[in-house]
Symmetry: D2
């Protein structure tokens, strides 16, 4: 019932660096906890802030050797790659516009990259980064962390095994309410960069959480959107990027069937904290999963009573069990799912370190997944600008 | 806490007739229970089936006087309007294509009409029926029964009072799974007429349940769709009408704001029985309601903990209390909500009988609401046929 | 899927009288709605209040012939039994202390009795009433209405079929909060008689809702308490009867096993409206049901995922289906369950009217069930007075 | 919103040892993950198994220096206390009967102890351990991990602030189903020692999970049981210790009121995984919390709608916020709550290391709490053996 991840060797932890993530950065703390949970990493270097004083203070707080607290990612990439005990991997947790240059610097210095989403702040950067990764031979992991949840892995395996029959519908929603008021106008740091096209890119909610919703659909169903019709709004006056999006999807055909889908993302829906929800329906059954209660997966076989599959419980399959740490009934959460990506990345890094190659059937989100996410953002924006006209992702 | 409806005088029940509703008809039995619950009606006549033998057997089963079991609605309208003790109102529970001619016959005979939804099987009939009703001076009630639920009344009042601020989003979904297989090809009566354009009209799921979803939005929010962009599917091979619809809505502006919405209806989503759900978000708070658990209303004020308002509980407002029959914690259901429409119709009929007029602020769904529903169906079909182009309801 | 009850003949409704139930009485209105829903009864006589003016006004409101509005139940029993069109059955909805004398009067007048719970206000009366019923040859139904819920019927059949294996645990709870403050001291009518030993008997919460909880356990499991150990409290200062009870149960052995149980009832647990809940565990599986959401039954087979059985859904068995009125997903509620008792009583009355006898396998709560409930109340009180000593029900 | 724990200095992690926890031990892996999550510890030594081969393999798997993998806890205590870089604290994760001797050895060697529950396998050992801890001046933490959940901290603060008024009822339940079959007879290691009096002590379910339930009640309400009346069962034939317990509690008076309570624990209730649930009712409101969904706390103020407080949401208080790692809506779970105890223990250890003393208002479960838990177990067993007679905890 308990996966290998909980007991895997921690003898030789991977040396990790971090770009971004100075004091006050929410997602950076998440990355650090995720890296620590299973004991596969040790954080030894950082370019934690573009503000030197803040960088220094943050490094001290994290117990970094002052010599390995850098003023810029460029300096860090150069210096660490020159050290015999330099970092083997780096976590990039900056605002979106820095993902590409930072990732490029480390990949070209031979360092593996674990990068927050969305991939970049522009489609052009995304395309370039795909090339950079391919040339580098290094590991690139995009932290679409929801795909680390055991019940999401369960769902994916069930779809692959045909339990649901042919998939006809896939729907995801990710409502929040934290931007219901114009926080970006009163100095909130998280709000400011996320609503700023220069740092976020063309997508607001679409980029920040829409890419998660989209990735979750593709991860579980294996379906890919051929085109989208989107209606984006900026409900808060003065906001520069969308804070609500209604999206209809047409997936590429599979087995002669064209499935359909919807995505709703919002940052202005009062009462919703991080209400990520996925529903998938096939000709023989359905699945439903909600992030706020992630240890449950509803499985609804056609013509039979609904079943509630629990992480670690009797109905859990191999894909779920292999990323489960504790017995059923004891809840795992967001950090555990996030840590699973880090742990699987550690496995991949060790495989590469030992001269091997990435396992073909690994489940880590890739740079190509990131590019697809960027096409999704751009397609939504383009469609919305054209009165919700269907827009092909591959046209962008 | 207990409304007048439960104790209202039953001394002079209204004489009711029924068109359609022979043995095996689900919705007819519902109408009869709804009419009985509060004691305001007595069923005395019927044209229960176009099959004379079935009509006779059904009438006997219901205890009707054989003389008042008619072979056709025309005959019934004629005969009953000539009797001194003739029916005062009639319930029309036939397939859609019969609504218009039957309603017309009774209205022109001076008999009030309670009619199942959708209004008619064509937009033309719907427009004609609006005129017929207006000329008749009789009551016409369309049984959009979900608007009879106490928590829906509660929601409506809360929106009107401005508790949610300006409404920006309204979303309804109504998934079912009973047509996941081609039941209409194996003689299922309910499935057959609902998937037959000649009897249902141009909408499948859109007409059967989409109109409920749409009416619920308009009832609660007071918003009306200016246009829709719809993607309709027939996922079951050979099916003639849509069994799944994704619809985006643009509501007419109100107070300088344009709210947006979505509707999802499906008859092919395994695990969904009658999953009607409504979500409304404003600038100051949200509401969420699910038909399967109708005694609860989630109210989510921005920046405060969610509150679960219960029918009859401490947070119930006047609108809810006035249609509540039993104490909080004891569940009311579908039949009670349906009965509320019948009881309110009885009040209206008595007011008209006594020479008065319909109360201005009554909440009964009208023929105009029915016409708006028919425009919604047609707009969805038209939009879907034009690759989901935005289609104005008032253009039809 | 829809039971006979919804379409059963209403041609010859049973003539019904009512004792108690003047204006403002909650449960009387419930009985009347329950009697009306399926069309098997017509209310024609009443002794609605001991206050003549109130009796008259209530009768008028209900449309009773003034000649059949009586000043006392004795007068009513006498007069109605003398009429050729006299009542065939009577509903007794008075405070507890009147149940016995009223029931006796009607039974001895040859009139069937439908009586609210608990059976009487004293164990002595209860024992006497059992004899009275047996001698009378008339039907006596105690309205333990929760046993009319389809999912409770489902549970009972599942236990009988051995789906759960041998039952080892049965737990019921019924918390409310409406007596958290001393309402009886400020004139609340419902609170006053329920907290008054002279009208309620020795049990407060134990009598009013504890008997429901106990009956539900016995109905579903077929187990009967051999003894109880109870700790009763009166948390509200000045209250005369228990407003909270913790009870442990030892059931009589069955198949060499002794199952155990608990009952918790409270009227002072804030946030609980009518939180009746039942849990049953056997060696092979468990069941869980909550009255507030009565259309669901959790079935938890050992070693398999939990299943959510829905009224009318794929997992519903014959016992559930036979008391189901509308399709799955449309909620039925409290009134429907209550009406099922009335409808089944109507079937029994017709069988007796036609010279037959009561079906052996009927599911109506009997006078003997009522006596067992009275023993349960007395055993709880006796045990609590003896420092929670185990007290046998058959010792009383 | 994010607590200090997530960003606290990790510069000087505490050197930790572990006793027990060789391969296959569930709870040991939990302790290690909990110790790692916030970065306050580094595991450097272990006496991981009494089987030398298993001890060695486990140590290697965890990356321990072979020199610091010991064959016994005595040897480890001796050797580590002699090293300048010896462990500062030890985690004891053995079966219960080893807790006392191991804790004694380390405390007397000047090493802080973090020990799994229940405190010991006998009341005598427990009393002795209290003395040992007091004499040692070292920190002793009992890992009643559920008290680390943010919503449990929230509940405790709410009770202390009087939000609920005077507490009248406290109820906990902790049902499981994993021992529904006699696993101990087929070699299951976890089941074997837990059902063995020699290793577990006199309590089965009572000891293993009953102490958690009891501690949770005392932690949140501040109430302490004066006496219990318990009915223990061994439903699985051949089992030596209780696998189900029904317990009634009388709490010591507070403010002139005597609150009552119940505890139900079971290991044989099919469908329950780790169904820990707490309900607390006062004169002004109630609280309800369920471990499986730990990020929610229901708050039910009397006479107002229920409120759902979420970890990190608008209603979260200081006590909750201070142990919260990630934003609301992203679920935290069991490991995070467990880690909070480790992190708070780290703070205490650092305070003691720096020559200070334990903060008076710390929330870590103490050896005295452990002794109270042992009295609870013994009182339940004694009471059950005396036909559920009320048994005072302070009589033992």
């Amino acid at each position: 019932m308990v996966s290998a991840s909980a007991t895997a060797p921690v003898a030789r932890p991977i040396r990790l660096g971090m770009v971004g993530g100075g004091q006050g950065a929410f997602i950076a703390a998440v990355h650090r906890m995720a890296a620590r949970l299973d004991g596969h990493y040790v954080l030894v270097a950082g370019a934690l802030s573009s503000d030197p004083e803040r960088a220094r203070a943050s490094a001290a707080e994290l117990g970094l050797d002052p010599d390995r607290s850098y003023g810029s990612f460029e300096e860090m990439a150069r210096a660490e790659s020159a050290r015999p005990d330099g970092i083997e991997a780096v976590s990039i947790v900056t605002p979106n516009h820095m993902h590409y240059p930072a990732a490029k610097a480390f990949l070209e210095a031979g360092i593996h990259v674990i990068c927050d989403k969305p991939l970049t702040s522009s489609l052009e950067d995304a395309k370039a980064l795909v090339e950079t990764v391919r040339k580098s031979g290094r590991l690139f992991v995009l932290t679409h962390n929801y795909s680390g949840y055991p019940m999401i892995r369960q769902a994916r395996q069930m779809v692959q095994e045909g339990v649901l029959g042919d998939i006809i519908l896939a729907q995801a929603e990710y409502p929040q309410d934290w931007l219901s008021e114009p926080l970006e106008q009163s100095g909130n740091k998280q709000a400011s960069w996320r609503t700023d096209p220069a740092r976020s890119g063309v997508g607001g909610a679409t980029g920040d959480i829409g890419t998660h919703a989209y990735q979750l659909i593709t991860f579980v169903t294996g379906l890919h959107a051929e085109s989208v019709a989107a209606d984006l709004d900026r409900f808060v006056p003065g906001r520069q990027l969308d804070d609500n999006a209604h999206v209809m999807l047409r997936f590429a055909e599979r087995n002669g069937r064209r499935a359909k889908g919807t995505i709703w993302v919002s940052q202005v829906a009062p009462g919703n904290e991080n209400g990520l929800k996925l529903r998938v329906y096939g000709t023989k059954g359905g699945l439903e999963w909600v992030q706020a209660d992630p240890n449950y997966l509803w499985y609804t076989p056609l013509g039979e009573p609904k079943r509630l599959i629990t992480r670690g419980g009797a109905g859990a399959n191999q894909a779920a069990a292999s990323v489960t740490r504790i017995p059923s009934g004891h809840p795992e959460g967001y950090l555990e799912a996030f840590a699973t990506l880090y742990t699987e990345a550690a496995g991949a890094i060790r495989a590469l370190r030992d001269g091997g190659s990435l396992p073909e059937n690994h489940l880590l989100p890739t740079v190509e997944d990131g590019l697809e996410g960027m096409r999704f953002i751009q397609a939504c924006v383009t469609s919305s600008n054209k009165d919700a006209a269907w827009t092909r992702l591959d046209s962008l």
